[in-house]
Amino acid sequence: MARQIGDVILDLKNISLRFGGVRALTDISFDVKEHEVRAIIGPNGAGKSSMLNVINGVYRPQEGEIIFRGEHRHNMNTHIASAAGIARTFQNIALFKGMSVLDNLMSGRTLKMKANFLQHALWWGAARNEELAHRAKVEEVIDFLEIEHIRKTPVGRLPYGLQKRVELGRALAAEPSMLLLDEPMAGMNVEEKQDMCRFILDVNDHFGTTIVLIEHDMGVVMDISDRVVVLDYGKKIGDGTPDEVKNNPEVISAYLGTQH
């Protein structure tokens, strides 16, 4: 592959997150390098989704430091995260079910629209040109994900696998530099999983997008990630290449359910 993995762009240091007495994350540190596919794995309740929520600012950790592109922060903020090019998809699909695929993808570009409300309402002047430019971008995403045939179909009418693809499209429409994928393949059949893997790798390869993903299918994780971090009960128990992680005794015991 021609893709070169670059320097660290996101560095998480000693992150701890508590909800009252519940320790969701305890003293977790790991980093993400530019252009890599970084997986977060772990059993249910390990704190994987919480970790993503910390990265894009939905949760504010009580302790720790987030260094994103050289800027040190105590915590992220959703606006800063999205403006800085972090986009994400959700475990349970978060799309507008009654709107068409096209409109859902257009919503992914809202942040990039400059014209004011009135101009948009009248579809006049800057708003019009702007929409045309954004539509062109969205069409590129549609072409990329091969969803031309459902462009005008309401999302709610689509099968689950395609909805997942549309959600990836909505995130891609924002032209992110980092993509957070929360279980992109949950509930899919083998063929849909293969398609999704191909798209994720293509995104990574074609646009150079850095990808952080949570996934339960170990086969998929080991195949497509460059590095894997393993969480269990809010603690980091492993970090490294797929092979290293696979042979880590602590990881094996966590997955085989050894007593704690």
């Binding site: 062109a136 549609i142 091969e146 031309e148 045939h149 293509d202 074609h206």
Partner: protein, 651 residues
């Protein structure tokens, strides 16, 4: 370069000359459209001529010479059609191949036609060719249209189409007369294309057609149905298929009309609605799918809508086809039909993308009478035609006023049709193949000394002089009483009933015809549910007395139908049984294209055939079946055999 200088005076007898002619006389009209990134992008005739000339020069620089074959593999893309013309400009021969074939299936055609350069659509096709390149040592260069995903490929023999065109453009600036000179060297009896036959019998054969043959067929067809430069055609059927080559390539270049390439295979329906083609071609199953979709959607519609639809469909059934044919119809029906056009037919045609259709064709398989009537009664001028790869898909056409369901029309202009003693259809005319590529013995076998091509189809000319196809010659047998036995003809009639999925008829050398029936699980299952008839699975449902009664009705209708046709009146079905399992390609009972393997079935179910002819009323059978995951199982059943009413031969 200067376009088409001197092209007007030269005869328009090759495709490149036709292209240059259009670039000159209608240079600003759209030649081809393609939906890309959600927008229909047009290319004018002048642009196409310029781009194609540049591509031709680029090909020449890659070493493509007069007489060389150029493989073309991909979905219908404007630049792939252009590649065909580019090859022809240099006196080469385009060889379009089926884009959905797996790599191993492509090896034969690539080796057989000695491909040196292949022009392909995208990464998928490039990967296939890379896979088989070892086995095709002659393959020197691969040119791809869409560069997506190919940026990491470093093979020196891979070229982007854009690069080749860019190189050709520079070449044409330096040598502005090069392409003109090359086109001038072309002769009408040069082979213009090699199309591979499907190869249902043995290895596929490369059919060489000349410019003259395809241009004659296209001129004949365009003249017959009055096609002009204003037509819009949707090009969505495989480029390797003779029908697409005739409609989207030859006729477009003869008449100068616009072809439209859909965005992808999945968007054809939407694209069709947006384009609103004026001429349309589809095999019967496409028309069937469209109708099914309409009917399913209507089931979900509100009561008023359903009522209106039902009522006006009744009106259309009564008088729609007659109005289309210009026959006398009462004033009341005319008024009702006009109202129906506003309320139902018009909007429905609009949804199907058929509002502007002047003529719609179907061919390739028999079309059901209800289906045919449905479209015609809505005012869509649906016609059948007849032809094969070897005849540029041009033998018989139906004239507007003489549409008959059971015939394929009269011989097209310039075509002679003759029936041999064994019932085989023989044809002669300018559209016949030049030869099978490198197969002189096969050519000699299929074209006789008088220049007639042996189609392998059996048929007859009816009292109007219209051709009726009954079967493949090799399947036609003789009853013990001497009557012609055409199993496919009877089976097709049976299969037109939605409840019948497959049928296999026996009768060669016997004194009566007997049939195996496969019920259609979804259709009969639905029917049973509506009657509160419970069943456990296919075998159970197939054995129900109610289902037998249902199928018996179908068979008796077919018999009544057969009785009216003198040639086949003696081959009515006397006895039938409903098979206990579905015929399946996994069990070798059907081919992969779902054609019945008659001989194999006769052997496998010999005991059933014996029971049919021995007059028994039940027969026990056990059959081994293969499941999709490779496991094997046994299906056993006691099959009932029913006698059917036969009708006296109509006078």
């Amino acid at each position: 370069m200067t376009l088409g200088s001197g092209a007007v005076s030269a005869p328009l007898d090759t495709f490149p000359r036709l292209l240059m002619h259009h670039a000159q006389v209608r240079g600003a009209r759209p030649a081809v459209r393609e939906k890309d990134l959600g927008i229909w992008q047009s290319r004018t005739w002048a642009q196409v001529a310029r781009e194609t000339s540049a591509f031709a020069s680029g090909l020449a620089q890659l070493g493509f010479k007069r007489g060389d074959r150029l493989a073309i593999i991909g979905d219908n893309r404007p630049r792939l059609y252009g590649a065909m013309l580019a090859a022809q400009m240099l006196g080469g021969i385009p060889v379009p191949l089926y884009q959905d074939a797996v790599a191993a299936e492509m090896i034969f055609a690539l080796q057989d036609s000695g491909i040196g350069i292949a022009v392909v659509e995208d990464q998928e096709q490039v990967d296939k060719l890379l896979e088989v390149k070892e086995q095709c040592p002659l393959l020197q260069h691969i040119v791809y249209d869409d560069p997506r995903g190919l940026s990491h490929y470093t093979q020196p023999f891979l070229h982007g189409l854009d690069e080749v065109i860019a190189a050709g453009t520079i070449h044409n600036q330096n040598q502005p007369d090069f392409i003109q000179q090359e086109i001038a060297l072309g002769r009408p009896d040069d082979t213009s294309v090699i199309l591979y036959t499907s190869g249902t019998t043995g290895k596929p054969k490369g059919v060489c057609q000349t410019h003259h043959a395809f241009i004659s067929a296209a001129r004949g067809g365009c003249g017959f149905d009055g096609m002009t430069e204003a037509e819009e055609v949707l090009s969505y059927l495989p480029m390797a298929w003779v029908g697409d080559h005739l409609f989207s390539f030859a006729q477009a270049l003869v008449a100068g009309f616009t072809i439209n390439c859909p965005e992808s295979g999945d968007t054809v329906m939407t694209d069709m609605r947006e384009i609103g083609p004026t001429c349309y071609f589809a095999p019967p199953r496409v028309y069937e799918n469209l109708l099914t979709q309409v009917m399913v959607r209507m089931e979900d519609a509100g009561a008023i809508m359903r009522g209106l639809f039902g009522y006006f469909m009744g009106v259309a059934k009564r008088c729609g086809a007659e109005i289309l044919d210009g026959k006398p119809v009462g004033l009341k029906d005319r008024l009702l039909y006009a109202l129906g056009e506003i309320l139902i037919y018009g909007p429905l045609k609009n949804v199907l993308g058929m509002s502007r259709i002047r003529v719609a064709y179907t061919a390739g398989a028999a079309i059901g009478p209800d289906l045919f009537r449905f479209y015609r009664s809505m005012g869509i001028n649906l016609k059948q035609f007849y032809g094969q790869t070897e005849t540029c898909a041009y033998v018989c056409l139906q004239a507007d006023s003489r549409i008959k369901l059971d015939s394929v029309g009269q011989p097209a202009p310039q075509v002679e049709v003759k029936i041999a003693d064994n019932g085989e259809i023989l044809v002669r005319g300018p559209m016949l193949l030049k030869e099978y590529y490198l197969r002189p013995e096969a050519t000699a076998e299929s074209v006789d000394g008088e220049g007639f091509f042996h189609t392998g189809d059996a048929g007859f000319l009816d009292h109007d002089g219209d051709l009726r196809i009954i079967d493949r010659v090799k399947d036609v047998g003789k009853m013990a009483g001497g009557a012609v036995f055409a199993p496919n003809y009877i089976e097709n009639k049976l299969k037109f009933f939605p409840h019948v999925k497959e049928a296999v008829c026996f009768g060669h050398g016997r004194d009566s015809v007997c049939a195996f029936i496969n019920i259609d699980m979804s259709s009969v299952g639905n029917w049973a549910e509506r009657r509160n008839l419970s069943y456990a699975g296919y075998t159970d449902l197939a054995g129900k007395a109610e289902v037998y009664a249902l199928i018996q009705e179908c068979v008796e209708q077919v018999n009544a139908d057969l009785a009216r046709e003198p040639l086949v009146a003696d081959t009515q079905v006397h006895r039938f049984l409903v098979l206990h399992k579905e015929l399946d390609p996994d069990d070798d009972e059907l081919t992969r294209t779902r054609k019945v393997r008659r001989g194999f079935i006769a052997e496998k179910y010999a005991v059933l055939i014996e029971a049919l002819y021995a007059g028994r009323s039940t027969q026990h059978i056990e059959t081994e079946v293969k499941f999709e995951d490779g496991r094997r199982g046994m299906v056993a059943a006691d099959l009932v055999i029913r006698d059917v009413k036969v009708f006296p031969r109509a006078a």
